[in-house]
Amino acid sequence: MVNTNVTLCGESLSNPIIPASGTFGYGREFSELYDLDILGTFSFKGTTLLPRFGNPTPRIAECPDGMLNSVGLQNPGVEKVLSEEIPNIRKIFRKKVMANVGGFSIEEYAAVVKKLSDVPEIGWFEVNISCPNVHSGGMSFGTDPRLAAEVTRAVKAETDKPVIMKLSPNVTDITAIAAACEKAGADGLSLINTLMGLRVNLRTKKPVLHNIKGGFSGPAIKPVALRMVYEVYETVGIPIVGMGGVQSAEDVVEFMLCGATAVGVGAQNLVDPYASKRIIEDLPRVMKKYNIQSLNEIIGGAHHG
């Protein structure tokens, strides 16, 4: 018997698979397809203080081995999440959920976390300081170590639950941001959020996305994600949720060898609605194939030696 247990910021997960925020809604659609309790946990849709429609459409574009999105943090706002989504999550998921929060100011991040802080269904906060699709917010917090640290401190002050900062890959040195977040009290880091990309429609000769640029995800970005997880693992001591282009149980092992304690599954949920389930079911076979007894023991294994 192989052991898929890992511990993320003191909270045990039966396996490291975490459907990534923005690809899993609040779990409703997927709960109709399979029992969500098989998941390590899932990270719900980035939630802001006020409801947001997001950017104008089109906000999806095809890429080689990936996709662009410029959704722009569409969500019903934290009040409706409290009144409608959390009660529903209680019905469809018996484990603790990861609450992804977005914001346009340090105060907003803190306010959203404060409102969700006492919700017993929430096990971790994932603070998105790296959304490439919102102007005057999100991303700039993720590209400046000082601002990233300020958001971390503000959020930490509002909750006793573990706080995981979600980092942007669109930076010269992700380890500087990572170190700043750790120093400011972050309990974990998740990376990578999407790269920034663009596609042009040759028929209209204009960008495919109304917003021009969008967040680039999918298998195409996996080598960049692995590199950044590897670099950050060498820099910090807090656990990492690694993600970017995960499609298979092999990919999960690859991220963990680079230093991830848990692994997000993102865009693949959208093209294969059973992706996360399939990956979890395939993990034991892949572990046996590569002589892995316990996933916990391979975290960071690609380093040294």
Binding site: F53, I60, E62, V71, N269
Partner: protein, 242 residues
Amino acid sequence: MKQGIFSVKSLERLTNDVYKLVLSGDTSEIRAAGQFINIKIDGLFLRRPISVCDYNDRTVTVIFKVVGKGTEILSKAAENTEFDILTGLGNGYSLENAGDRPLLVGGGVGVPPLYNLCKKLLEKGCRPQVVLGFNQKSEVFLEDEFKALGVPVTVTTVLGDYGKKGFVTDALPKDYTYFYTCGPEPMLKAVYHSTNTSGELSFEERMGCGFGACMGCSCKTKYGSFRICKQGPVLLKEAVLW
């Protein structure tokens, strides 16, 4: 929604760039005209959504125009090629408020979903009237199939080289109890403004997942934001913000 493997039963070229594809597989999840399927194509990341033209217990028929890589690959699929397909997506048209003389207005590749709708309305005992719009004669398809159902069909062409010259809105009948429409957005807008009953409009948008998870295809309606793939593609006239 159901995920299943479908195989190509037949592929037929209807016009220069429009193809009719019949796929065999488990169609049990398809519940309404106007729903769509989402096809995984090797070498492409996102699935390709295509509205259902017709279906029965064992096959689903779609009609598509070649507009990019995905549809180009589909247009060359050999018999028995297998595709991973999600079925039963979207809300589809509701038959409830059709009344006795519903009007069906389709434009270009918006025509196909109206075919199964027309059959369903006939089964229900309605007497549908059909108006189909195309750019020109060489692009006309499905006219004969609608006529074979025994319903009155008016075809319009923008160039006027076939049927009535003009847009579909130049050929709307006077009397109808409800309308159903599908086609390019400018046409939907014209139909919206030219009709005097309630009705249902089917919208198109670039989609990520097709089953409501990614928020890629949201649109604003009178009742808040809707996901075209989940709460659409069919919107009640009363929901549309025009």
